[in-house]
């Protein structure tokens, strides 16, 4: 079975080459792998290689053969290195790259400023969501944290912050027989020291704690105690957003009753149809939420070309939507929602802006110091 899969993969790779080179050559290709390698190199020589450093959430998209094929048709081969979005701004040497593609607008703005890039592209985005389970939805509805909302269920961040401030445990919720765990009622996030999704979560919670976007040192000081607690009380957290989301899917409610995720992570799993999303798994939209705006910053001409293609090529837009991203042209995403019956709203009303990069960084640093 597995061997078949591997062979299938090999076959598919060859098939691509075959299409590019014509049926006559394909006969030769089937004879020997060595020939295939030589010819593949020949083909690559005609493509322009463009290198990018990207937020790891988009790795699967760029690794997809269909995506590679579209780029190849435009004469481009995109090579990407995955990195944390904060890391792209602060730690990565950008010299070898033609573009940077972090997963948040503040990170992109910072890069754009530093590198004096003329423009940026935001071809797709994904709102932050909270993935949970039916019994938890019921519990939190009773507790006033989950509301029916404008056509989709919302997670009232203000009500949540009040529960968290008191250090409420699950087993202290009145009438809780569904999940009487003796641990704090907290949304599971990633490590604020490493991960973009945790920074987005900080954007949401600091907005609510402050009653507006945090934009002054005073406001930072005011919100830090409450928002720090949301991270510190979790204790150890994982460094990549895939980690807690995978736990949510495989270990279930016991381990991860509420997990912060990108909507795209959930949508991607439903599109795949691999039965990893069970009927009792539900999405809540924080009110307010923020968008993780995947923003491409061209660092050289070749990078700009990739930005343009992602922004304007309909095929790439359609493919991005199959990975669960909301596309610049909403049609692509809406088509997938209809086609795959995705449990997501067409528009999300309560969306706020994240703080400026420097503000977000300072708050993250301040939280990191308390570990």
């Amino acid at each position: 079975m597995t061997k078949d899969l591997v062979l299938d993969k090999v076959f598919r790779q060859r098939w691509t080459v075959k299409r590019a080179l014509g049926i006559g050559l394909a006969v030769v290709l089937l004879v020997g792998v060595v020939t295939a390698i030589v010819l593949e190199q020949g083909e690559q020589a005609q493509l322009q290689t463009v290198r990018g450093v990207i937020g790891s959430e988009k790795l699967a998209f760029f690794a997809d053969q269909r995506v590679k094929d579209v780029f190849a048709r435009h004469g481009v081969e995109v090579e990407v290195d995955p990195a944390g979005s904060r890391q792209i701004v602060t730690a990565t040497d950008l010299t070898p790259y033609d573009f940077a593609f972090p997963s948040s607008a503040p990170a992109a703005e910072k890069i754009q400023r530093d590198r004096k890039a003329a423009r940026t592209y935001a071809p797709f985005s994904s709102p932050m969501v909270i993935a949970t389970f039916d019994p938890v939805v019921d519990l939190l509805t009773k507790a006033g944290v989950v509301r029916s909302g404008p056509g989709y269920p919302t997670f009232d961040v203000q009500a949540y912050l009040e529960l968290a401030a008191k250090g409420t445990r699950w087993d202290q919720l009145p009438g809780n027989t569904a999940y009487p765990a003796r641990k704090n009622l907290l949304v599971t996030t990633t490590d604020p020291r490493d991960s973009n999704s945790a920074a987005m979560y900080l954007a949401i919670t600091s907005f609510v704690a402050n009653g507006g976007v945090v934009s002054s040192p005073d406001a930072e000081g005011k919100v830090l105690p409450a928002v720090s607690k949301l991270f510190l009380d979790q204790g150890y957290t994982q460094s990549s957003t895939e980690g807690p989301f995978e736990d949510y899917l495989s270990a279930g409610m016991g381990k991860t009753p509420l997990v912060l995720a990108y909507e795209a992570q959930f949508a991607d799993r439903v599109v795949r149809g691999d039965s990893s999303v069970r009927p009792d798994m539900k999405l809540l939209y924080p009110a307010p939420t923020v968008l993780s705006k995947h923003t491409l910053v061209p660092l050289r001409e070749a990078g700009d070309r990739v930005g343009q293609l992602l922004q304007s090529d309909a095929e790439l837009g359609r493919l991005a939507a199959t990975f669960g991203f909301r596309t610049a042209d909403p049609k692509h995403f809406n088509d997938i929602v209809r086609e795959k019956n995705l449990p997501v709203p067409q528009t999300i009303v309560d969306v706020v802006e994240p703080p400026a990069h420097e503000t977000l960084e300072r708050m993250l640093e301040a939280i990191a110091k308390q570990y």
Partner: protein
């Protein structure tokens, strides 16, 4: 035709690579295509059949070198892991990620399977405790333990992940606050933790040896241990059938992330990806569940019937290295039953030179001079009774110390001074000296019976005394149960008589440690996990 031949060739190659190696922590050589060099926790050894199959299916074979969690974290943090390995594979990355220098060297993790750490007891005991009809939390378990209504074995938290997870789990659950542990919370629950650990009557440096020792004790009516705290997977495969107690307020679960190091080459990166995809495929996940009793890591494979409790609450884990290190230190110095440790040490003429120097260093290392992570936890602990019994042609006077809980340094300094002044001369009267050790222990046990007692026997050559191993065997058989059950840990060194040392370990339920291909310090440190 060629394709059909390949598996056979691969199988042959694997057979050739299957020879037993003396040192499990050996380096595994330079990078070679198709090989992933992995620094791993020893409990991964049972995955070998799955990995053999993976090698046939993917062409990627795994070369393991085994080490403990904390020692492994140290190797990653210092960068030595990068020199010889492409990936690490421990039961969890949690501790590694708390060490900043290690965390930044970790690349893509792939969770392969999971297993919670739980309590296993014989069915009759569970019934006696009334736990067969209801689920209990850690607080009830700790209370029953404090009243000695059951006893258990657990691994050393500084040497092995299952003990470490149990310590974190019980501390988190008892702290009652529900959020992650910090130093103040640990102090607040110390009395309850002490109750819980008072029922721990067996310790070990590895999960495997713990299970073996438990089986042996189960057969020996003299000194039984009721149950074990270990991975669910280990407890489910125990030959003595055990009933698993899943604490209702939560567990700490090992999730076995096969983790690439950031230093890995692109070939290794590709190999890691290929192997990960294979291991996470539904068929392989099912086989892992069936053969190793671990839970699958992918949601597509449903749990089978042997997992009595499917949905487990996961307890929070501390968020900083200092909190974890503090918890381990508190465990050793305050919480666990204190140790009584007798060192029977060869100071005969053959030990002159480098050897006696090595012995001095090994002992000095245990007095706090070893500043490595693992070394920090292996020093003599607060409340520990340490007796050094040097011998040559006959036993010399025993040198007895008791390390105070609060201010250990002065006594540690005394031990260090004694160790530094050890000299080598004379003959090698191993067995009469070892016999003499029991006189010291008898006195100490009469005065204070409730301790982990063990003997380390270090000698570099053949016995020259008039009593031989057969005499000692007769003597040992005549001992009362409380002395007979004391494990002896012989250390092979120089020209040790291997067969005799094996015999001594076996008769006492101990274990032989080899210091012929590594330093005495390394062996002494490893033994700490068993004391």
């Amino acid at each position: 035709m060629i394709r059909r031949l390949l598996p056979a060739v691969a199988a042959l190659a694997l057979l050739a690579g299957c020879s037993d190696e003396a040192d499990p922590a050996r380096p595994v050589g330079d990078a070679t295509p198709g090989t992933l060099r992995v620094l791993a926790g020893s409990e991964l050894a049972d995955l070998q059949p799955i990995l053999d199959e993976a090698a046939r299916a993917t062409g990627i074979s795994v070369k393991f070198s085994f080490t403990g969690t904390i020692e492994g974290a140290e190797k990653v943090a210092s960068g030595t892991a990068e020199q010889g390995f492409d990936a690490v594979w421990f039961s969890s990355n949690r501790y590694l990620e708390l060490v900043p220098e290690a965390q930044k060297r970790l690349g893509t993790p792939t969770k392969v399977m999971s297993s919670p750490v739980v309590l296993g007891l014989p069915a009759a005991k569970v019934k006696e405790l009334g736990w067969d009809t209801k689920r209990v939390g850690w607080a009830e378990i700790a209370e029953a333990a404090g009243a000695r209504r059951f006893t258990y074995g657990m691994t050393d938290p500084s040497a092995s992940n299952s003990g470490f997870s149990a310590l974190v789990g019980v501390a988190a659950a008892l702290s009652g606050s529900g959020s992650a542990l910090d130093a103040a919370r640990i102090d607040a629950v110390a009395p309850q933790l002490k109750q819980f650990f008072s029922a721990q009557t067996l310790s070990a440096g590895s999960s495997g040896w713990l299970s073996e020792a438990y089986q042996r004790r189960a057969r020996d009516p003299g000194a039984t241990v009721d149950g074990l705290i270990n991975y669910e997977s280990v407890l489910l495969s125990s030959p003595e059938p055990l009933t698993l107690v899943y604490p209702s307020d939560g567990v700490v679960t090992a999730d076995y992330p096969l983790t690439l190091l950031t230093s890995a080459s692109s070939e290794a990166r590709e190999a890691h990806q290929k192997l990960s995809d294979h291991l996470r495929s539904a068929d392989v996940q099912r086989r892992i569940m069936e053969t190793t009793h671990r839970r699958p890591a992918v949601p597509q494979v449903p749990l089978d019937g042997k997992f009595a409790v499917k949905d487990l609450v996961e307890l929070p884990f501390p968020g900083s290295q200092s909190a974890v290190d503090g918890l381990i230190t508190t465990y050793f110095d305050q919480l666990r039953r204190p140790s009584r440790t007798l060192y029977v040490l060869d100071t005969s003429g053959s030990m002159q030179g480098d050897r006696i120097d090595g012995l001095r260093q090994a002992l000095v290392g245990l007095t706090g001079a070893d500043s490595s992570l693992a070394g920090k936890f292996s020093r003599f602990h607060g409340r520990e009774q340490v007796t050094l019994l040097p011998f040559n042609s006959s036993a010399r006077p025993p040198l007895k110390y008791e390390v105070p809980q609060d201010d250990p340094q002065p006594v540690l300094d005394q031990i260090r001074a004694t160790a530094t002044s050890l000299d080598a001369a004379g003959g090698t009267a191993i067995y009469s000296s070892l016999r003499g050790g029991y006189d010291v222990l008898r006195q100490q046990i009469d005065a204070d019976p409730d301790r982990f007692t063990s003997i380390v026997l270090m000698t570099d050559g053949e016995n020259t005394g008039s009593e031989d191993v057969t005499d000692f065997q007769l003597f040992h058989q005549s001992l009362p149960p409380n002395l007979k059950g004391i494990p002896i840990f012989p250390v092979l060194f120089g020209e040790s008589a291997t067969a005799e040392m094996d015999q001594v370990a076996k008769m006492s339920g101990g274990k032989v440690f080899d210091a012929r291909s590594r330093s005495l310090s390394a062996a002494f440190k490893e033994i700490r996990g068993y004391q």
